[in-house]
């Protein structure tokens, strides 16, 4: 029998540190897109509470029941992360496996919002994006999901674009660090 090995090509590119920020990868584990059927959002949320102890998030919201988290990711859509989704949820929602589809990065450090301000057209400072909030937007020319976690800003992007994503964020980190030297 063939043995397939898991590979994440961006592992070789990370971590990156520049100035006051650090960029690293993290493993989001199983990810399931939850998309409630028509009129079933509340029912889905209840079923999720029963099965996982967290509800379906409102727009921009993250619900959590460690190790599980559920990130709002779009109109009628959220990603359950940190563990598999209860198959029973499929009575209320379309469930589609998204594992492996996304590269997950974390940007840590006080100047993380300044770094992403080079790439992201949304205010990511803590006052605008506090912990427990998430949003969909652009990072450079790529669509991303950005969430504020206790450790820093988490960025999900399409797996195939991992190289560009790392490169562009690392570049921004270096520019911000370069400015800091100017005083």
């Amino acid at each position: 029998m063939v043995e397939l090995t898991a590979q994440t090509p961006w592992a070789a590119l990370l971590p990156v540190t520049a100035g006051a920020t650090g960029l690293s990868a993290w493993d989001p584990g199983p990810m399931t897109a939850l998309m409630p059927y028509r009129g079933r959002r509340a029912a889905l949320s209840e079923a999720m509470q029963a099965a996982h102890g967290l509800g379906f998030p409102d727009p921009g919201e993250v619900t959590a029941a460690p190790p599980l988290r559920c990130l709002w990711t779009g109109r009628g859509q959220a990603f359950l992360m940190g563990g598999p989704a209860d198959p029973g949820l499929s009575a209320q929602a379309a469930l589609v496996d998204q594992s492996d589809g996304w590269v997950a990065l974390r940007l840590e450090g006080e100047t993380a919002p300044e770094v992403l301000a080079r790439l992201v057209p949304v205010d990511l400072r803590p006052a605008a994006l506090p912990e427990g909030r998430t949003l969909r937007t652009l990072c450079g020319h790529m669509t991303v999901s950005i969430t504020r976690a206790p450790e820093g800003l988490e960025i999900l992007a399409f797996r195939s674009m991992a190289g560009t994503l790392v490169h562009e964020i690392a570049d921004a980190m270096r520019l911000v660090a370069g400015r800091a030297v100017l005083g």
Binding site: G74, R75, L135, R136, L138
Partner: protein, 88 residues
């Protein structure tokens, strides 16, 4: 230019894809004549002033929006989800 997405809040225009007059929502019923179809697809009021048009929050939540705005001043009066609140 900034648009308010009902789900995501105020966002830069670069997150949105434009799709023209909101009249496109009112697709002719089955059985309409070719002329009716052609008029629907091609002819436009194209107002210099208040209009309703379609925007897709492509780099955001994936919602299609009807935006009411002014084509001369670019003032925006309001945005709403196409198809209503069927699943947000």
């Amino acid at each position: 230019m900034r648009l308010s997405c009902p789900l995501c809040g105020e966002r830069d225009r670069r997150e949105f894809t434009y799709q023209g007059a909101a009249a496109m929502v009112d697709r002719p019923a089955p059985g309409a004549t070719t002329e009716q179809w052609s008029d629907w697809l091609h002819l436009r009021d194209n107002p210099a002033g208040r209009t309703r048009d379609l925007w897709y929050h492509e780099a955001g939540c994936g919602a299609w929006l009807v935006v009411e705005r002014d084509t001369v001043t670019h003032e925006i009066f309001g945005t709403a989800l196409v198809g209503g609140d069927h699943a947000d």
